[in-house]
């Protein structure tokens, strides 16, 4: 099957090989900086001038399909053309990565509305995600498809049954592939779902703890997650865990607002539970770069301990 949507079939219109390569590169680089309009201009007739299934064609077709899907404003014609191209890449592309990415894009197109009035098809999306899980089993793309598949049970038709299905999918996947590159995303996703959708704080904290050990997906959000975990620990009566988390906040995220809140809470806990010998770490003075005891009282308390 060759592309026909651009109508550029006349061989005389075809462009030279060097120019093609340059345009493919320019088009992809334009996407790399969110300039989908430029990408569309650079790539729009390129796939037609290449042999389908070749490496350069795969790159050009994936780039063009992306530009058609994400250029604004979204139109029915562009989305349809994008779908055709992604399908073609998934079927004929010579690069397995591009094929998997194209399938993920196709599934996502079915799942969400790209323009007003577009009909979505979540069952079709789920089928595609399941297909990717099977075809790319053990690879990152299968992890991603699992994450997406589970999310369809959180975002559509809210019910405890659906939430349980989504969490089960994620839990089974992570136990089968604990060393997955996306493991941290999966653990955070489980944590969010347990916390927000099922109100199972113990399970949420356990999932967040797994994510913490792997290093949270967005390092700049570490303070927020450690604090959230500390609150889950307190509400579930896991005092030792809460203390550990407060101490981590002070040491590991020294610039965060939560440092002061953690220090204060540790002070309260230390006063309420002298038998626990609670250590309150020194805080960092961000101006001088030196550590300092939290307060005079604490200094005395620490020295007594």
């Amino acid at each position: 099957m060759t592309l026909s949507w651009t109508g550029c079939k006349d061989p005389s219109e075809r462009i030279s090989s060097d120019e093609t390569k340059a345009r493919v590169q320019n088009g992809l680089e334009a996407i790399g900086v969110f300039d989908y309009k430029l990408a569309l201009r650079e790539l729009k007739s390129v796939p037609d001038s290449l042999e389908p299934g070749t490496s350069e064609w795969t790159r050009a077709a994936f780039g063009l399909a992306s530009a058609l899907r994400y250029v604004q404003p979204a139109t029915e014609a562009n989305i349809e053309a994008s779908r055709e191209l992604f399908t073609q890449v998934a079927e004929e592309g010579n690069d397995p990565n591009a094929r998997a990415l194209a399938l993920l894009e196709l599934a996502r197109e079915q799942e969400i509305q790209d323009f007003k009035g577009e009909k979505t098809n979540v069952e079709e999306a789920r089928e595609l995600y399941r297909h990717i899980r099977e075809e790319y089993a053990g690879e990152t793309f299968a992890d991603e498809a699992t994450i997406r598949l589970a999310n369809t049970y959180f975002t559509r038709d809210p019910s405890q049954e659906n939430y349980a299905t989504g969490i089960q999918l994620l839990s089974e996947h992570i136990s089968e592939y604990p060393k997955s590159k996306l493991a941290v995303v999966i653990w955070q996703q489980i944590g969010e779902a347990e916390d927000r959708l099922r109100n199972d704080r113990v399970a949420a904290l356990a999932a967040y703890e797994q994510a913490r050990q792997l290093g949270f997906t967005i390092p700049m959000q570490k303070d927020t997650f450690l604090w959230r975990m500390s609150q889950l620990a307190e509400r579930t009566g896991q005092l030792e865990k809460a203390i550990d988390l407060y101490q981590r906040i002070i040491v590991e995220t020294p610039r965060a607002h939560e440092v002061i809140l953690s220090r204060r809470r540790l002070e309260e806990l230390a006063a309420a539970h002298p038998e626990k010998n609670i250590k309150i770490p020194q805080t960092l003075d961000i101006i001088t770069g030196k550590t300092k005891p939290a307060s005079k009282d604490l200094e005395t308390k620490e020295s007594k301990l």
């Binding site: 790399g32 994936f62 994400y70 995303v185 927020t224 959230r228 440092v259 961000i286 770069g289």
Partner: protein
């Protein structure tokens, strides 16, 4: 046909336009247009007195480094007024004639995802140590622990804000390097006037019975009126040279200044030099936030130490706060009304310059403003004659003291821990000298250079351990306090305009005496209860906003997919992971709908 002079003007205009267009076209066609082979251009809008001179010192130091001279590279700066900075940058960045290094911000075009189009991501560099903090560049006598930290830590970790001022959350990458920070809002006291007010208060305390103004200011045990209890501690403070340490002390001094202003020749004197510039309004700019922080933690549903617009509305619907039931709201308005007694008559008609001038000329005891005004205020006061000059004390707004008015509310200020440093300088993606430009940014943020640059500029340094000039030290960020976003902020930009405008408009009216507090409550409650544009509509708007973000997240994920898999950019792998995470959390606004379902099980989700 008669010759019309207007035609000549039109012809001249057309001729000038054509000539300019030809010139722009000719220049833009020249190879390397906009770039000189050996010059790194830095463009910024910091035209405050001293900033360009400070930066120029750093530039000269850099240009004189042996390896820079050897490479034949030279750095030059250009200041552009903030009024036209946005247009200037838009034209040059799109035209490919942008500077190598540019201050990031103020343009409507280069923001959000578009930042990635014009500026280089810096994550790969900021995780490496800054070579200009290696031992041979460090000042002598530096604390060994600090020296070790500066020499070995990631560049980002050597800045006091952890380089947060250069981090773009949407893009999950560092896109600029902050080099200076102006400091937040503080109270400037004219200590000569403060001493005079203290003397008046001491005299009044010695009188029996106390004069009426003092009697009204003093708070007896359990009484509702008055600001501050009479105590040996109060007398001790009045006899000291310290600025107010509690709100009660501040209010007492303001009352004393009002007394002084009744003396002949002192009529122009006011306690606080307020103006229409929001930071000059002590009650609104400083104290309102503190009151609204006191109950924020009760409204934070997802433990992120923020109270967002949905949490404001949802908690109002659940009765967790209310205009009538939440005392902190009533009390904050009381204090703001009280404060206006100390402002100049018609203060809303005055501007920032008039407010500063009043303070500098000794006609106000207090002015509230940010560190960006410190240099000009100190210089102006220092230039006054010997008889007119006065000592200035700078402090944060005092909290409530024991037994004082509002003491139970004024216990914690907003923390300044997560402040973001300023003057973020970005690296133009099209710069022909990216390595050299980056080298210059490292140089600017090394401890020795950053300290001296900011000392000359009159700003606060951003490098850990770099010392600020004495006068600016009170502006350094303070860790202590509550997360500022825990504030129940009715000016939150995500609140529906109808709610936001009604509450802020009614607040202005109640403060000016245009309406009563009861009318204020009525208006605000009506805005929240409005079936079409009130609280329920906020749910829909929140959901729609989150749903709209779905597309943006997917687009960002696609960008990183192309970078990682088709352009073989290894650094994209990390970003792709975070994009995927952003895409699934809050995907299609599902959390908003779920929250509605939990609290309104029998009601359909609000629609437009």
């Amino acid at each position: 046909m008669r010759f019309n002079l207007s035609w000549l003007a039109a012809l001249l205009l057309a001729g000038s336009f054509i000539y300019s267009a030809i010139q722009v076209f000719r220049v833009s066609r020249m190879p390397g247009a906009g770039y000189k082979d050996n010059v790194i251009r830095v463009i910024h809008w910091q035209l405050e007195p001293g900033y360009r001179e400070g930066l120029q010192w750093a530039i000269d130091e850099y240009n004189n480094l042996p390896h820079v001279k050897e490479a034949g590279i030279r750095v030059e700066q250009q200041g552009v007024t903030q009024k036209v900075y946005g247009q200037f940058m838009n034209i040059h960045m799109i035209g490919g004639t942008g500077p190598d290094i540019a201050q990031n911000g103020t343009t409507r075009l280069i923001r959000g995802n578009a930042i990635a189009r014009f500026y280089a991501p810096l994550s790969d560099y900021v995780t490496e140590p800054n070579p200009y903090n290696s031992p041979e560049f460090l000042p002598e006598g530096l604390d060994p622990e600090l020296a070790e930290m500066l020499a070995t830590s990631a560049w980002s970790e050597t800045l006091i804000d952890g380089m947060k001022g250069g981090y773009e959350e949407k893009l999950n990458d560092f896109y600029s390097i902050p080099v200076s920070t102006p400091g937040d809002v503080r109270l400037f006291y004219n200590m000569k006037l403060a001493s005079e007010a203290k003397a008046v208060a001491l005299d009044a305390l010695a009188m029996q019975p106390h004069p009426e103004w003092l009697r009204l200011s003093l708070r007896e045990n359990g009484a509702e009126s008055g600001f501050i209890p009479e105590s040996p501690k109060l007398v001790e403070w009045l006899n000291s040279g310290s600025p107010p340490e509690t709100l009660g002390q501040l209010l007492l001094l303001c009352e004393a200044i009002l007394q002084i202003s009744t003396q002949p020749g002192r009529e122009g004197l006011v306690p606080i030099a307020a103006s229409s510039f929001s930071n000059n309004d002590v009650g609104n700019a400083l104290y309102r936030h503190i009151f609204m922080l006191t109950f924020g933690h009760e409204l934070d549903l997802n433990d992120d130490n923020k109270v967002d617009s949905l949490e404001i509305v949802h908690n109002w619907q659940q009765g967790r706060w209310g205009f009538e039931s939440t005392d902190a709201i009533r009390k904050s308005i009381e204090l703001m009304q009280l404060m206006t007694r100390y402002y100049p008559p018609g203060f809303l008609g005055l501007d920032r310059e008039q407010s500063q001038r009043r303070f500098v000329q000794g006609n106000a005891m207090i002015v509230s403003t940010g560190g960006w005004d410190a240099k000009s205020i100190f210089e102006a006061v220092n230039n006054l004659g010997d008889e007119q000059t006065f000592e200035i004390a700078v402090t944060r707004e005092p909290l409530g003291g024991e037994g004082e008015i509002y003491a139970e509310y004024l216990t914690d200020r907003p923390s300044e821990a997560e402040f973001e440093a300023g003057v973020p300088l970005s690296l133009n993606k099209q710069s022909p000298h990216p390595e050299e430009a980056l080298d210059f940014l490292r140089f600017l943020t090394s401890i020795r250079v950053n300290e001296e640059l900011n000392r000359r500029a009159g700003w606060l340094p951003v490098t850990i351990g770099a010392e600020a000039v004495e006068e600016l030290r009170p502006f350094s960020p303070e860790m202590e306090g509550l997360p500022p976003k825990l504030e129940m902020n009715l000016r939150n930009q995500d609140l529906l305009a109808q709610i936001r405008n009604t509450t802020s408009g009614s607040l202005k009216l109640v403060l000016s005496g245009g309406i009563t507090y009861e009318e204020f409550i009525e208006r605000c409650q009506a805005a929240f209860s409005d079936p079409r544009l009130g609280a329920d509509r906020q749910w829909f708007e929140e959901w729609q906003q989150k749903n709209d973000h779905t597309f943006g997240h997917d687009q960002s994920l696609n960008v990183e997919s192309v970078r990682q898999y088709l352009l073989n950019d290894d650094s994209a792998q990390r970003r792709r992971l975070s994009r995927l995470y952003s895409s699934i959390t809050g995907d299609q606004g599902y959390w908003v709908r779920e929250l509605w379902r939990q609290y309104h099980p029998d009601e359909p989700f609000p629609s437009k």
